[in-house]
């Protein structure tokens, strides 16, 4: 099943890397074009002259603009994200702690969303036009229209405030009464992550459903689906093995859009649930004008998107044997 030539993969990686370079340049331009001086936003009143000088030094603000740009690009590629004035710590350290937390939340919702969405899309597309399709489809559009923070509040209200089943904030129990073992920590994290994941997937699955439903419906008209029926296969087999398997192919491409949606969603959700990840920090840092942090978070989220696109591309080639990248046809 190895259909991807090393050459093609290399090409995709080069393109992804170039994309990131352009995004970084964009970032540089954006931050330098802020109203007011770049430095004023980073100086708090309590800073000593020395500290200010240090900031100027780290950011190379004494250098000409092109020099700053080159330094910025090099620093970023070597993982030197600078120091955060608000946290008073290297940004890289901050990121290393926060990134996994976001990835856990994001990964879980991504997986669940991309299982539920295509499944529902499969059924709706197969039975398109039926009463069930109409009612489920319009309901899911209603879900899709809900602001994610609002639906989170409703969940917290029901499951935390009224029923008291699940915690509504943070990643761990704040003052634990249990022994810290790998198992209890895992359980505690799961306990805390339950509501955020529920809130996010409650809306998040709709995106992939919206792609799956029409493609599934198109696929039902294909000759091979007709032939599968004619072979006497059961309806279930035809639907899953022949129709849905093919309808999944465009969903893989569409995953890119769903991905962006989920990243946006997880930023909001992290803020609602005080989940100490990158989504939370990007908002606070922007509001607190902690630009080194904002910049690095933005950059790493972009890296995440670019990597995920690379992955979907690879998945795509596995889903569709007709595509054999990197060779003549």
């Amino acid at each position: 099943m190895t259909r991807i030539s090393g050459k093609y993969l290399a090409k995709r990686i080069v393109v992804s890397y170039l994309t990131l370079l352009v995004i970084m340049s964009l970032l540089f331009v954006l931050l330098r074009s802020m109203p007011g001086s770049f430095i004023t936003s980073m100086i708090s009143s309590g800073m000593t002259n020395e500290q200010i000088q240090q900031i100027r030094e780290t950011w190379g603000l004494n250098e000409p603009l092109w020099r700053q740009y080159i330094d910025f690009m090099i620093n970023y590629q070597t993982g030197n994200f600078g120091r955060s004035p608000t946290y008073n710590a290297p940004v890289a350290d901050l990121m290393i702690r926060r990134m996994p937390r976001t990835l856990v939340l994001f990964g879980a919702t991504f997986l669940i969303g991309f299982i539920i969405g295509p499944l529902v899309g499969m059924y709706l597309g197969w039975w398109r036009g039926s009463k069930k399709d109409k009612s489920i489809f319009s309901t899911s559009l209603l879900l899709y229209s809900m602001p994610s923070f609002w639906i989170s509040w409703l969940f917290i209200w029901v499951f935390n405030y009224e029923l008291g089943w699940l915690p509504s904030a943070y990643m761990f129990t704040q003052f634990p009464e249990f022994q810290w073992t790998a198992f209890t920590v895992m359980r505690d994290v799961l306990y805390h992550i339950a509501l955020p994941i529920m809130s996010l997937t409650f809306i998040g699955w709709v995106g992939s459903m919206l792609i799956m439903r029409p493609t599934m419906n198109q696929v039902t008209d294909e000759g091979y689906v007709f032939l599968a029926h004619a072979k006497g296969l059961s309806e279930r087999t035809v639907m899953i093995k022949h129709a849905a398997r093919n309808a999944l192919i465009p969903v893989a491409t569409g995953a890119v859009v769903g991905l962006a949606f989920l990243i946006d969603g997880s930023i909001i959700i992290e803020n609602v649930f005080n989940w100490p990840g990158m989504g939370q920090i990007i908002v606070t840092s922007v509001l607190n004008r902690d630009f080194p942090v904002a910049q690095a978070t933005f950059f790493l989220l972009a890296v995440l998107v670019v990597i995920m696109r690379l992955v979907t591309d690879v998945v795509y080639t596995y889903l569709d044997p007709r595509i054999k990248f990197g060779e003549g046809e």
Binding site: L30, P147, L287, F298
Partner: protein
Amino acid sequence: MATGQGDTESDGESYTRRWEPRLERLKRGWSRYSEHNIGILGLVILGIFSLWAVVPGVFAPHSTDWVAYLGEPPIESRLTAEQVRSLPHPPAFGDPFFAPLGTNANGNGILSLVIYSASNAMYIGLAAGLLSSLVGVPLGLISGFYGDTWIDEAIQRFVDIMYGLPFLPFLIVLVAIRGITTTNIIIGIAVTSWLNNCITIRGETLSLKERSYVESAKVAGASDTRIIFRHIMPNVLPISFVFLAQDAAGAVITQASLAYLGLADFTANSWGIMLENIKSQGYIFDAWWWLLPPGIALMLMAASFYFIGFSMEDVTNPQR
């Protein structure tokens, strides 16, 4: 187009004759659209919101400056401590005041606020949707029509890079930098939402320009502009309306999310700000009459756009 002026010489009668078949088609399109209950529902909801947006005074029980117990401005007295403690006040129907959806912590009527905020959401939705169509459709048309040339390649590379940007973070940074105004929010939303528009229109254009009616127009000597405007655009416009509706829905939700994060123009009335207020003032679990209406209004507004969009998609789908 230099070729189109001949039509002006025709008399009125031939114009009616020419428009008749088009009206007939519109009617048929409508009858297909109206097969979808959600399409009708979407139009009804949007219709109500439009009325709220245009003439909120007719529907709202009081103005946005109305304060519980005290009434409409000009307000001379102040609230007593006891009155302040009763805020946010649950729905009241005349005793001690009339506020069918209760009040917020400042004593403003929730129903009035919800109705007066409709115009803001409507404006953001339509403006962002329109703006992203105005960028995405022409770029998609050009990219598709000149497919496989450097023009296409350049546009597609640009789109590719834009897809690499995480949307909300980009928006947050953009708005934070450019200043938090409604216009900037609209621009920020449009900057990222035109991408899908462009990609789909490009794909559609690529397939349309291979149609033999486009080729026969070429054989007849039609210019590129004539082909784009007369033969391709009319056939992709319905799809772009679908995207307009979907982008509008997305914009409404995004704006609310930004407001939640504290990035909103707080001088305006909006559902997002109402929700931000309930959070910042700490009444999320104490004042359902304040929590639910703006959220439901947001949901219905976005949903009505989605309903219209997806019903229209079915009408424009040539397969059915």
